[in-house]
């Protein structure tokens, strides 16, 4: 079984977002880039599965669409335990553009399980995984919070509206994963960092693709008004304000 993990290179979650002067673009200068947290958990689970089922899981490949500045992120994934990496040399664009690039690079390759994080912490689109599945005409299961292999049967837990379900499915499939899929993201070991030096990172040319949407501009979120402090000895005041001023109870 070959597992593909889709990786998005995103600004560190604690980054303060700055904009260009015309507010039409994000200013990425000085930003620390990381593996999107959900993708990192997906990768961690893939590695865990390979460790648990060495005979079953042959290879873990990571893929991203982006410029050469995404290479350190891919090499970190290799250091964590992925076997090889693919970068589609296509920066920018929306989720449809990205998914088209990934599908182009992956089509015809023998990936049995494709893992995608449920969203990226930059545009929070929750779109690439489902689009990739549709472009490849694979089954997909979304909001997956656990993944286990039982021979060739793939067992997952997914969140559904109002609860959760245990599901069995088979390859090829795109699994769109969320919290719970792995607990602690993998930290690369010295050995991993060393072996990453010689693992292949293949760069694939972009394909012509039209995005379906474009960013018009940004705004800082509206400032909250100052917090109104209430005396802990006078909780009735809080009740009163929530009822008459905020009108939420």
């Amino acid at each position: 079984m070959n597992i593909l993990v889709c990786i998005s290179n995103v600004p560190d979650t604690t980054t303060r977002i700055k904009y260009s002067a015309d507010m039409k673009a994000v200013d990425y200068s000085g930003v620390q880039w990381i593996i999107n947290p959900w993708d990192e958990l997906a990768l961690t689970r893939a590695i865990e599965l390979k460790e648990a089922h060495p005979a079953l899981v042959q290879k873990i490949t990571v893929i991203t669409a982006g410029g050469a500045d995404a290479d350190p992120t891919l090499r970190k994934a290799l250091a964590c335990g992925a076997d090889d990496a693919i970068r589609v040399d296509a920066a920018g664009g929306d989720s449809l553009f990205t998914a088209t690039q990934l599908a182009h690079a992956v089509k015809g390759e023998p990936f049995d399980v494709i893992l995608c994080g449920i969203e990226s912490s930059d545009y929070n689109g929750s779109a690439v995984g489902g689009m990739l599945a549709e472009l490849l005409d694979y089954n997909s299961v979304s909001a997956v919070s656990s993944l286990n292999l039982d021979g060739n049967s793939i067992k997952v837990t997914r969140e559904i509206d109002g609860g959760k379900q245990s599901i069995e499915t088979s390859a090829p499939v795109v699994l769109i994963v969320q919290k719970g899929i792995a607990i602690n993201p993998r930290i690369p070991s010295m050995r991993g960092i060393m072996t990453a030096r010689t693992k292949p990172l293949k760069v694939v040319a972009a394909t012509a693709a039209a995005p379906g949407s474009k960013v018009v501009g940004y705004q800082a979120p509206p400032q909250k008004s100052a917090c109104k402090m209430i005396d802990p000895e006078n909780i009735d005041e809080l009740v009163h304000l929530l009822h008459t001023e905020a009108r939420v109870i």
Binding site: P11, T13, I17, P37, W38, D94, S95, I118, S121, D122, Y123, N124, G125, S126, A127, G130, M131, E134, L135, N139, S140, V141, S142, A143, K155, E159, I160, D161, G162, G163, K164, Q165, S166, I167, E168, T169, P211, G212, S213, K214, V215, V216, G217, Y218, Q219, A220, P221, K224, C227, K228, M229, I230, P232, I235, L238, V239, L242, A246, V248, I249
Partner: protein, 320 residues
């Protein structure tokens, strides 16, 4: 310029969030100068469907099937309904189901997708919508440039409007639909108010000190009819289950009222609660960052403040 809205039922019933979505679809149709069609997949009684007329539903396509939620199958039904009804805009809720289906529908329709849209579009021509980006740290405006467009609506951002009119229910054939998955078991959360749809959320952090101290928090939630939640350290410690974790990598919630009890307010937590209408924070540390995100704050020890709060709200509720 018509609009297709995919609506999801739970055990044949619709929730408040569906009313918001339907009335949102109607307003979009009005904005575009077209009509709105709804698509319901699964078994829903005709009366329940017709109730949606009050929220602007015109035509409701009812695709009855026993096939459980299968991303590919459901997406094909939605895309077919969009094509048959001539919809140029497809709308879904930004919940687990919408996140699963909208991307597939978009590809099938060659449509641009913007997800987690806040409220009505900024403009219809060009079609520009607003959404949060960078986990709530930024507001972004995006234009969908394709002829057919797909959006998912962030819950609680459009409000509910009612309309005069009747809904007409039509049957859509779903007999050809098959599933690529087998459901082994389903675990439905019962009895409790679901975090994803609660109007009021009572959430505890590390300041609660231990798993044993959750009883008074649950009592307050009970009085308020609230769902319970927690911050990441609490779920990491195993004091509360992971599905209660609110924050960047957990759940993003948008209740009317959010109580942050003993939560310091790390940026990752704020990313999960920034869409709440009103935030009340209780913390013993007056410098805790949660107070800069909160609307109302109390500095004090939860051991004493929490029971007092429960008492005060109980008094208020019984007086109302």
């Amino acid at each position: 310029m018509s609009v297709l809205v995919y609506i999801e039922n739970r055990n044949g019933k619709f929730k408040k969030s569906t009313y918001e979505l339907v009335s949102y679809g109607k307003r979009l149709a009005n904005g575009l100068g077209g009509s709105v069609t709804l698509l319901s997949i699964g078994k829903v009684a005709e009366d329940e469907l017709k109730n949606l007329g009050a929220y602007g539903a015109g035509t409701i396509l009812s695709a009855e099937t026993d096939v459980p939620l299968d991303d590919r199958a459901y997406a094909s039904l939605i895309a077919a309904a969009a094509q048959n009804s001539g919809a140029t805009l497809v709308v879904m809720a930004h919940n687990v189901t919408g996140k699963a289906l909208a991307p597939r529908v978009a590809v099938r329709l060659n449509a641009g997708l913007v997800s987690a849209v806040n409220g009505l579009p900024v403009s219809y021509q060009p079609f520009v919508v607003s959404k949060k980006a960078f986990s709530g740290k930024s507001l972004m405006q995006a234009e969908i440039t394709t002829d057919i467009k797909v959006i998912t609506l962030s819950q609680n951002t459009a409000g509910i409007e009612t309309f005069a009119g009747n809904a007409a229910v039509e049957t859509m054939d779903a007999s050809a639909v098959t599933s690529g998955i087998t459901v082994l078991s389903t675990e439905v959360q019962t009895g409790k108010i679901l975090l994803s749809e609660a109007d009021v959320v009572v959430s505890g952090g590390r300041g609660m000190r231990s798993a044993d101290n959750w009883e008074p928090l649950e009592e307050l939630a009970g009085v308020l009819g609230a769902a319970t939640a927690c911050s990441r350290p609490v779920s990491d410690e195993g004091w509360r289950p992971h599905h209660e974790h609110v924050g960047q990598t957990g759940k993003v919630v948008a209740p009317n009222l959010y109580f942050a009890l003993g939560i310091s307010g790390a940026i990752q937590h704020l990313a999960g609660i920034s869409s709440s209408k009103v935030i009340v924070a209780v913390n013993k540390d007056p410098e805790a960052p949660i107070f800069s995100a909160a609307d109302y704050g109390i500095v004090g020890d939860l051991q004493t403040v929490l029971p007092k709060m429960t008492e005060a709200f109980r008094k208020f509720k019984s007086g109302n």
